[in-house]
């Protein structure tokens, strides 16, 4: 076995294990800490977490892939989440979904070629009386029509 220089990534994973590894049933807590730090769960992290928590890689991989929230690929600079659930459907989210995919040129769980935007679907953000609901980089918006969607993206781009 050859020793590998610690990278920023492996250091972040080690920090997550050191901080949460002692908690009862720690795996999901550790995965959250890694994704909070890196934006996703790199393949390399699976091995490191398995070693650190004394689990098999299969167990860690099984958990990472079970939960929709955990990502195994580096996301875009910003993440757009669109609610697809019934209450937002009752307010016409299907046309927003079509528009967003056409506008960004990607489908759900994909990232634009320039790496600027990832598109995710979510089922309910608890914002069900003022749909369609969208979250962009953690910020929640109500009544998001296709026109408003374009304005929000443009506004964000200007603010960057």
């Amino acid at each position: 076995m050859t020793s590998v220089e610690p990278t920023a990534e492996s250091q972040a994973v080690a920090a997550a294990i050191a901080r949460h590894g002692h908690e009862p049933g720690p795996l999901i807590v550790v995965l959250h800490a890694v994704q909070d730090a890196l934006g996703y769960i790199p393949e390399q992290a699976v091995r490191q977490i398995a070693d650190g928590l004394n689990l098999s890689r299969a167990e860690v991989f099984g958990v990472v892939t079970f939960y929709h929230y955990f990502r195994t690929h580096k996301p875009g600079a910003r993440t757009v989440q669109i609610c697809r659930a019934e209450a937002c459907q009752a307010r016409g989210c299907q046309s927003l979904e079509r528009h967003a995919r056409e506008k960004l040129g990607i489908d759900y769980h994909e990232t634009t070629a320039d790496g600027s935007t990832s598109l995710e679907m979510v089922f309910c953000m608890g914002n069900c009386a003022t749909g369609p609901a969208v979250r962009i980089d953690g910020r929640l918006y109500s009544h998001v029509t296709p026109e408003r969607f374009d304005a929000l993206l443009a506004h964000q781009e200007n603010a960057l």
Binding site: H32, A85, E86, A90, F123, C124, G126, C128
Partner: protein, 507 residues
């Protein structure tokens, strides 16, 4: 004017409440951030203290702030956005707010404010009682699980109390994944101390020393509010080694979920809390006997636990006197989807769906007729107009083949495509299935295909028979409610809107 109240609730913020709060602060006015009263069409709803009570203005934009100050809002001055005394508003005045009594009024980050509004009176009473007496009070209140299953809370607690084991847990299921529901979120963001107090009472009652709140990752504002409140409760001695100096220990932590709807199912949630895949466990053993890490565990919904402080404060009779039949107390109804006045309505059981949709909801937001209403989340039945007079009561809903569930009410106007909604129910089940049992894992995908074939005109009558049989297989052959209840929206849509389940012309 010295002070205004502006909600920090996520719906209010999504409608611009942060900008409004900043605009008031810029004018040198003290801003208190509260939860939301749940009158969402008026958000951001700004309130101000007047000698007569709190006056409200909404929906307020940042650009309105100067005009409101000039109109003399500190004295409740007239303005086109004025709604008068907030608690006299018909939407609020006709409600029976027990669990939501503090929300929109207090600062959810302030323990002092919570105490000033009578907070922790329930825990103080509980600490003077035996565990068995606390459990009896909860049983006598008639409280049934508000997560959807409506199981008597007192019986669940008694089972945990009776286990002769030293390590027990209290877990709160805050994985509120049903579309059209936000009552848990309003409590966690708007009055987290009530939930914390309810869990502490549960721990003291059954002898559990550790609690976990399993909160959705889609609710970052709730997670933050809970953590702030837990830290405050801990440093003031309401949590920790010796709760209020009683010598009884209770610790509480928030665990963040990871976007799996199935983890709202109690055994799946326990798996997830243990750091595993959220696959459903076979029952028995019941979680109350072998739950988290194999130990006796209370699993309750946010709304059930948040009802407990009032029951211990005012006594079980006070709570039980609300409601009808075997549905005692109040239910938090969440008005969502295509309604003019969406929001939160807490009422005693027995109010009819029609009253909720029209007297509160004001009819559809689009102005078109309401065609169908889904009650109880994605696994709930679609009710047509002919069933709108059904009272909100667990047994009355069961009698018409529907469920109250967590109290989410999603209204659709006459543009809704019922076959598409039925197909979506299968699609959702396929996406969220944990995969452990075959009817759910495979039946959900097959169901969507069968509806496609039906609408495409491939032997439609045969597809209808197949769909009926598939639904029965899911109902009877699934391990948990996801597979077992996905047929409810499908069958109800087919029953009440049969014309829409016919082959469609291909374009």
């Amino acid at each position: 004017m010295t002070r205004v109240y502006v909600p920090k609730d996520s719906t209010a913020v999504s409608l611009g409440a942060d900008e409004v709060a900043a605009a008031f602060a810029q004018q040198g006015i003290e801003v208190i951030r509260t939860g939301s009263r749940g009158l969402f069409w008026l958000e951001p709803l700004v309130e101000v203290d007047t000698p007569a009570g709190r006056c409200g203005y909404g929906p307020v934009g940042a650009a309105d702030v100067g005009g409101l100050i000039a109109a003399g809002m500190s004295d409740g001055g007239a303005h086109p956005l004025a709604i008068g005394l907030v608690e006299e508003h018909p939407y609020l005045k006709s409600q029976q707010r027990l669990t939501f009594r503090h929300i929109g009024i207090i600062d959810p980050a302030s323990l002092t404010d919570y105490l000033a509004h009578g907070g922790y009176a329930g825990l103080r009473n509980a600490l003077s009682m035996t565990g068995a007496a606390i459990v009896q009070a909860v049983a006598d209140s008639g409280l049934r699980g508000r997560g959807g299953a409506a199981f008597p809370t007192g019986i669940k607690w008694k089972t945990v109390l009776d286990q002769p084991v030293t390590q027990k847990y209290v877990t709160c299921n805050a994985d509120e994944g049903d579309s059209g529901t936000f009552a848990d979120r309003l409590v966690m963001e708007g009055d987290p101390f009530t939930l914390i107090e309810g869990m502490t009472i549960a721990g003291v009652a059954v002898g559990a020393t550790q609690g976990f709140i399993y909160c959705r990752v889609e609710y970052p504002e709730s997670i933050a509010a809970l953590r702030t409140a837990i830290a405050a409760a801990k440093s003031a001695g309401y949590l920790g080694e010796s709760v209020c100096g009683s010598g009884k220990r209770f610790e509480l932590d928030v665990r963040v979920a990871a976007g799996a709807y199935i983890c709202g199912e109690e055994t799946s949630m326990l798996q997830s809390l243990e750091g595993k895949r959220g696959e459903v466990r076979v029952r028995p053993p019941l979680p109350a006997i072998e739950g988290l890490f194999g130990k006796p565990t209370i699993v309750n919904n946010v709304m059930s636990l948040a009802a407990v402080p009032l029951i211990l404060e005012k006594g079980p009779t006070y709570y039980r006197d609300f409601g009808m039949g075997r549905s005692r107390g109040t239910i938090a109804l969440q008005l969502a989807g295509n309604l003019k006045r969406g929001g939160l309505v807490e009422r005693a059981f027995g109010v009819t769906l029609r009253e909720i949709l029209y007297d509160y909801g004001g009819g559809s937001a689009s102005g078109r007729p309401i065609k169908a209403v889904q009650v109880g989340g994605p696994l709930g039945a679609y009710l047509p107009e002919s069933q709108f007079d059904t009272p909100l009561d667990y047994e009355a809903f069961a009698a018409v083949g529907a469920l109250v569930g967590h109290g989410g009410i999603v209204a659709f106007d006459d543009t809704a495509d019922m076959a598409a909604l039925a197909r979506y129910a299968f699609e959702f089940c396929a996406y969220e299935s944990c995969g452990k049992c075959t009817p759910c894992r495979i039946g959900s995908t097959r169901g969507a295909h069968v509806i496609d074939n039906l609408l495409a005109g491939h032997e439609p009558e045969r597809q209808k028979v197949l769909l009926g049989e598939l639904c029965e297989t899911l109902i009877h052959g699934s391990l948990c409610g996801l597979g077992g209840m996905t047929p409810f929206p499908v069958q109800s849509a087919m029953k009440h809107f049969p014309d829409e389940f016919e082959p469609r012309s291909q374009h």
